[in-house]
Symmetry: C2
Amino acid sequence: MLSFLDALKRILVGRPFRTERLKEAPLRKRLALPIFSASALSSIAYAPDEVILTLALAGLGAMAFSPSVGLAVMVVMLVIIASYRQSVKAYPSGGGDYEIASVNLGPRAGTTVAAALLVDFVLTVAVSISSASHYVIAAFPALDGSQAWFATAGVVVLTVLNLRGRGRSKMGTAAPVYLFIGVVLVMLAAGGILAATGTLGTAPSAGFEVVPDPDYPHGLTGLAGVLLVLRAFSTGSAALTGVEVPISNVHKLAAPKARNSAAVLLLLGLFAGALTLGTMYLARAVQVRVVEDPATGLRLDGGPIPADYIQHPVLGQVAEAIFGGASIGFYLVLAVTVAVLLIAAHTAFNSFPNLASHLATDGYLPRQLRTRGDRLGFSNGILALAIAAIALIWVFDAHVPTLIQLYVVGVFVSFTLSQLGMIRHWGRELAQTPDKRVRARIHRSRLLNLAGFALTAAVLLIVLGTRLVHGAWLAVLGIAVLFAMMDSLHRHYVQVDRELAIGEDESATALPARVHALVLVSTLRKPVLRAVAFARAARPSKLDAIVVDADSERTEATLARWEALGIPVPITVLASPYREIAPPLIEHIRSIKRDSPRDLIVVYIPEYVVGRWWEQLVHNQTAMRIKNRLHYEPGVVVASVPWRLASSDASMDLGPTEEASAGAKPMPHPAAPQISNPKDKP
Amino acid sequence: MLSFLDALKRILVGRPFRTERLKEAPLRKRLALPIFSASALSSIAYAPDEVILTLALAGLGAMAFSPSVGLAVMVVMLVIIASYRQSVKAYPSGGGDYEIASVNLGPRAGTTVAAALLVDFVLTVAVSISSASHYVIAAFPALDGSQAWFATAGVVVLTVLNLRGRGRSKMGTAAPVYLFIGVVLVMLAAGGILAATGTLGTAPSAGFEVVPDPDYPHGLTGLAGVLLVLRAFSTGSAALTGVEVPISNVHKLAAPKARNSAAVLLLLGLFAGALTLGTMYLARAVQVRVVEDPATGLRLDGGPIPADYIQHPVLGQVAEAIFGGASIGFYLVLAVTVAVLLIAAHTAFNSFPNLASHLATDGYLPRQLRTRGDRLGFSNGILALAIAAIALIWVFDAHVPTLIQLYVVGVFVSFTLSQLGMIRHWGRELAQTPDKRVRARIHRSRLLNLAGFALTAAVLLIVLGTRLVHGAWLAVLGIAVLFAMMDSLHRHYVQVDRELAIGEDESATALPARVHALVLVSTLRKPVLRAVAFARAARPSKLDAIVVDADSERTEATLARWEALGIPVPITVLASPYREIAPPLIEHIRSIKRDSPRDLIVVYIPEYVVGRWWEQLVHNQTAMRIKNRLHYEPGVVVASVPWRLASSDASMDLGPTEEASAGAKPMPHPAAPQISNPKDKP
């Protein structure tokens, strides 16, 4: 069983890498730009849809506002990018918002940012992959209904790729993003020319009427209208996720790191702005109609729409209007969009385990998330992300409009706290800077962060105010639970550290006076003889065999056999009126301890090593329970004496890594003069 | 957490009993009769229903046949009882059919009987309790729909009662059964008098028309009709379960055991026959109509029946016809029926764990089923039965007509093999008996068992032939799976026994030459110091500390600290290019073994003892993995050196049994001259 799983792992993940391969060449700007902006750019695949279908609740007239809402989102993005460009110069280590918040606002703010980002990374994967699966359906409508399966397959493929780790070509990631930018720009240009010449076609959904929601009978009027526009803006802010990628990856860039990162941020903003706004204007021009539920929200000639109508994403509909439905251009747009969405999810597969490993190192997450797997990736973090994303995909059936309600909360918590942290940072800098000119520059920087803080805090409030009831509560809950978990784990680690730290002159622990060994005997078979032999070999001050009399017939048989075999060790019978094993044994140990408190007691327990999983269920259960109980007794060491059953031979192999590390010889270490190499026998 | 569960267990189950309380007074005949026949008698609560509703598939005319089918079932019962009366004289130990089949037909036949009986005991509980819940609904129709909940509650109550074990009054079990027999006899007599005087009323369902199933358009004609009668007979044989109870409980009876058991069997047969046949004749007289699905199978004046119609059991409808719907007599019949059904299920709660414990002793089931719990019952067997029965109740929604399809298969497998075993038994007896008169008696006995075998084998074939597709396949599958499990477990135990048995002159196991101790060091904290101190106290021939270099920074820190603390033990660094702990350690151990093959290696591993469940997840994971791997290395003992974290204090308590067994002092044993009492210090 185990070796089958090992073999499967080897096939999927490949042979392990040596630690030395961890060093990597720094990333040039022209590769960093596409790799770091895939996440932000990919939102063109779903953000316009969300803005339009939210506005569609108030009817056709409201949908015309969508480019303006897109423009507002882009304004927020430009402010965030401007402030990030100066943050990255102040914190060029790649710690990102987590570091900024921790350093300036304290560890609890840092933990909050971390929890928020972890939740949003999971959502990035869920949303991007779900959206990608809808683009696949747009190309192959016959497969409609299998979105969740496609999405799951996508997550699994990305997981395996990331577990395989290093060795992937950077070009392989960068090229599709450039291709995406190029293809969409060409499409927008073509659309613009067609519009200018008055020959622009219409989207396949242009013929439908939009049925307004009964809550919005008069379009975008009154308070309800204002709130709906704000909600459209808040869902549209999904376009802002991924903006933080360049700043948390500064350390991977070629020098000058901070300046290169700032340049990447600027270009990212320009491209994202151009593509998003272009798409939204063209969507209005070709009269794309998308609604939350096509069956009730759309009508055709006053009657219901065809039952088999599948609503395609906005970008696909725009491409169809410009290039035609069965054209190469149309399929090319779908293909590069799927590619860039996958790369966006892939980015999260890098960010999540990295952040988790930072948090584990700082003692906020279990240490298992810190260790690198066979191929040097943070395997446990990768698997945790994949499981969480697949769970979300199935809970929400890969439905982007529902998933998007949870999105963006985390990233705006992070933006807001990071801006606040930078304001503090500048305040401290001001206090230390006497130079007037430098002070003026710091004042300007702080002003920018103040504006950024005001704006991001406002967006966060809008997000929470307009979408909390629509699903954002789940994201808030997730962040809160994660925060509580990390906080209590950290407190636990701190407490354990304090408890276990060795004091100044504590190294001279008092040695126990003598060793009193006990061998636990049940049925007298070979494993017991081995345990007795091993216990004798250790030459304890005192050696007793112990049999607990839970079943008098068996006890008699054991004693008779003990005598017949002439084993040269005294045997003690412990009465057990309630047929238990552990309590009489522990009572016996306590009475030994009472008589000679400084004795060390070593309990030898014969244990079976089995080969099949079900054999574990029928052996060792009593041994396990006794060991667990004994661990609570002070001054007791439990020594397991294993006996390998014949069935265990199959699983004795240590797997392929064994030969790989066969060369692992003891390595004398210059820093430790006491090192002894066991090869140097006396 | 653990102590909360312990407290709950103490409240539900009570304080533990001493083993001495196991002895019990033998059971007098007048108590044995009701206790042992409850299971057989209780089937009057559901067997007539099954016969009538199966026949109803062929329409109203077919239903008139039901008493004849009941008569056929009773004939089979009398033959089985007659042959059991002589079996019990030949095998008076209480091993029942399992013993008869094992001794005469070999262990595999015995295992088959055991598997079949275990499955049927589970079904006894599921069917009896489900039926009881329907009688509860007959009394309180407003609770219709909660049958499965009532049934589950019933199983839980019986489980707790049985876990509490001994101390229940035998009278408390016997009285309701006598009351049941009395009440039903009075009802039947009253019904007979009313019928004779022509004043017998009709059942509440008498006014309905019965819609024949489309498969049986012409009533009970042709092959289909014959098969339907056979199927009705086969479901009606549910009345025969429980007949085996007296024979498998002979050992509990007062002497002369075998003769008393035979007497109980005879009386059981007479009562069961009278009550079953009486009920079925009266059911026909008061025109009870029951069908599988009342909504489609019944009609009222040509139209559908009222939507809120609840079909009550036959016994309840008969009582209603005789005593009236809201009369004391009616409710009394319902109450005693529920009581006797509960006692029938309770009988299975005794039989199942007993048989399971026999099987565990013979090595066919895990040893855990052999041990007696706090209150001397076979707790694990009781829990296994309860879980299986509750699962069946929920899978089949406490629906008796579906559950009954699985029933009876097991008990007839057991009847048939037991009859076959007895034929063999008599054959062997004949071969050893020269006396002519005795031979003639043996010939007569064998003839009876031959008849019994022919009859029970025929019924088994009818059961399988007519009901395999209706659900009996699930019972067959259950028996087959259980058989395969028990068989492979037995082969495993036999193999282990052979592997571990100590040979004639094997007691002098060669002692290892020297002890080479290794202390595994990761982060240098107090637990490591303790492990070093304990290892030093054991005075091994050689002692090394080992640090595996999976993370060079941490290794450097550990070495520096080791030096600073001046720990007088050499430390060895093992290189680990693939960041693993176990493989380099094992390679190191193997190289030591290569150099000095007769050395015993003891690996000291510091281990945390934690208090909260989640702390186990964040500590000891690496230690556990290393221990598991080390168990596969020959000549290696793993010594866990526990360190109790402060959080573990809460769970340090051993629970109430600790004080209870505080008096467990070492007990010198006359059979073992080497016994040393640790109180007698030198």
